[in-house]
């Protein structure tokens, strides 16, 4: 009987606490800002969780930004309150050049939120990986791709290395997100077209007959890599 009373009291208190939630909460932000990183309309692929963007809302007197990161296919989204915002990418982030203001600070894009909004962000990457094609044969994955040097003026950068990554899930990049990778250093890349790399597929447990692959390019002096789109390959 004693136990029963305590259960009833617990249930009553839980009910009371849920009921209390409704009163003092704001309505959540409901306007969705979404879009992607593009270069001439093409998606710029980056490493997941590594390339940040920041949103600043006007009129609140606080200096902090709403920070988040781009997804690996360059998409981004944020749920915001209606109002005026500025969007920027912090200095030295991303495998691309972000416009700078005359003072040398990072330029920003004004965003006026009133309901949902789509916004593609046009950037100039140092390089683009073109025509990446993957082929699976004898438990090996071969990736072939071309490179296009986009920035050729004084800001041009050299290639540090290129990697072919494969993973068992659709997140594919360095660190945790690959089961195998192979690397070509900058001086091994002699031509910009028809570059090819082959990586062996290790045993995957539990077994699966497909992997996800993409090519990453590390640019000398730039921390974040640029990638080709992820492709699912059936072995």
């Amino acid at each position: 009987m004693k136990k029963k009373i305590s259960y009833i009291m617990m249930a009553a208190m839980m009910a009371a606490s849920f009921a209390a939630c409704k009163k003092d909460n704001y309505t959540p932000p409901q306007s969705k800002l979404s879009g992607r990183l593009t270069y001439k309309g093409e998606e710029v692929n980056v490493e997941v969780n590594q390339v940040p963007f920041q949103l600043f809302q006007f009129g609140f007197g606080k200096v902090g930004a709403i920070s988040s990161t781009f997804e690996q296919d360059g998409k981004f989204s944020a749920l915001l309150f209606d109002g005026d915002y500025k969007l920027t990418v912090p200095a030295n982030q991303g495998p691309f050049v972000w416009k700078k203001a005359a003072s040398g600070a990072q330029d920003s894009i004004s965003v006026k939120m009133a309901g949902n909004q789509e916004l593609d962000i046009e950037v100039t990457p140092y390089y683009m990986i073109r025509n990446a094609a993957f082929e699976a044969k004898e438990n090996k994955v071969t990736g072939t791709f071309n490179l296009e040097k986009v920035i050729t003026d004084a800001n041009a950068k050299n290639i540090e290395r290129a990697n072919l990554y494969i993973n068992k899930t659709q997140f594919v990049s360095a660190g945790d997100y690959n089961v195998a990778s192979v690397q070509l250093s900058g001086d091994q890349i002699k031509t910009m077209t028809g570059i090819s790399m082959t990586v062996g597929v290790p045993a995957i447990s539990p077994a699966q007959n497909y992997v996800f692959a993409r090519i990453g390019l590390k640019i000398a002096g730039v921390e974040d890599m640029i990638f080709s789109p992820v492709q699912k390959i059936t072995l």
């Binding site: 940040p52 920041q54 200096v63 930004a65 920070s67 912090p90 200095a91 030295n92 982030q93 040398g104 990697n163 360095a174 660190g175 945790d176 690959n178 990778s181 690397q183 002096g221 921390e223």
Partner: protein
Amino acid sequence: MKKILQFTMLLVLAGAGGCNDDKFLNKEPLSDLTIDEVFSSSPQVFSILANLYNRQVDIATVKTWMTMADFSESFVSDNGSDQVNILRRTSWNYDSWNSWDYTYIRDINLFLERAEKATVLSETDKTRFLAEARFLRANYYFELVKRMGGVPLILNTMVYDYSGNPSNLQFPRAKEHEVYDFVISEMEAIKGQLPTDVNQKGRATKAAALAMQSRAALYAASIAKYGVNTPQVSLPGHEVGIAASMAPGYYAKALSAAKEIIAGSAGNYSLYIKKPNDLQENFASIFYDKGNNPESIWIEDFQLKTTKVHGFTVSNQPRFGAEEEEGGRINPSLNLVQAFEKTDNTFAPIRVKDASGNPVYFDKQIDAFAGRDARLGGTVILPGSAFKARPVDIWAGYQLPNGSILSGDDRGSQRPMPDGTTAQVVGFDGPIVGKEHTAQTGFYIRKYLDPAIGSGSRGTQSELPFIRYRYAEVLLNAAEAAFETGNASEAAGYMNQVRTRAGLTTPLKASDITFDRIVHERRVELAFEGHLLYDMKRWRLAHQVWDGERLTEAELLSNIGKADKKSTQPYSLLPYKVYNPGQPNHNKWIYKVALSNLVTGSNRFRLGNYYSFINDDIRSRNPKVVRQPNQD
């Protein structure tokens, strides 16, 4: 009855009224000393100073073995989640290694101000105490600038006036070079006020001041010189980053401070060489020989039978036959072991395969490591060597003739052999994957292990000192500074002294001295002493050495001795006993290079890791503190 009570009360009240209020209510506390009382006698002032000494911060220390275990130089033989995380994580957090203890700085400033005013102290005591406090303050600012870059330089105590506006207490970050300049100039100012005594290790001496000056100037110089390789790692206000033009001045300062010690003006320091017939033991002795050790300059001392002891030996002793049911935590990696060069001054991987890819058979386990730098055996407990005169039992199993491995899953497991008998199939020290306390890389650490009886038991522990500055580092500072200022032959002279002590008797010529050599020498001489991270940061090599890509076996075994050689995952070298009765190789030893399957991460040092994150609460309390670069 009631009347009597009233009358008594009246009497009591009358008595209270008669008291002298001032005297009655203002009593000196009996349990606390006032500031004036404390600063009235030298031993009491010294006890405050001892507290300040005790609060120094080190990036790696014998007090916490985990502080030495990172950076792929070792594997952690510990299944605790924090420890295993070292093997699993793919990058360091931005707040790794941060420090911001302005309470400590305030306490030192208070001490300086109060000791300055004290009238009873003898002039000799007062001068020394003040110099020591300034030494400690500069050392902590040095520690801060290494981790955080420029920080607010607070040299006086500050008092809040309760006006509601704290802005007069908020100071912006100083420029990075200003903090280094502060450390260098403080040491210049106090070195003459500190004693010149080679046997004074626990307290600041002239040599300690010069050693700190030399190291600080060298750090500032290399940040100035190599900072150009990472232009993103800088702030417009120079809170992070030092102008390249300042490098030569700092290198000259580093060299002249080191030379002052080498010339003997701060005491008769020299390299420890009391056991010339066993250079490996000699090298290990630097860290456990407390009597008349001419090499150590400034140490954190410990003493048995007090509360100031440490359990480094308890945590890291070879597990088999240990004085406690634990040990073996830090397992040096093959990455580090193979970096010790051969006695002919060349680099080579441990010879486990011959030219045609067949295994190399060794009669004794230790033979695989023969003919190498004596510091290898002095830093690492190798298979086939001993600790406290007890041989370690490190072997991973039997190699059977059919190519398969016979091994066990517990320390010293017994299994049926192919001939039907039952025998031990794995060492009592492992290596067994996932079995904590065993030598999972095939190696244990020897540096800082105490050979004294009882050092490995929890009730006794160890009194080995932690060496913060030693003479060999001063020589290497001098070598680097001389090399960077274009004087390679002078650099060779300093380096060869350190190398001869390690059994590398063929001297390096001036033309042999390269940047790679400088980087290599510091890595092997100063392994597990808290230098690696700061060195890799100041040379701006950290993001290349720990680039987050997996380390393949081919990459591991090539380019040994190169400064920017990748080292993102700790590899193992597993010894196997050959089982092939009747054949010449029976009971011989082979080795296999392996990567433990517990190592799932690969170290990635991001550009934002060069200077540790300044916590948001610090910046919201003082908006003048700017953020570190590359941490968004």
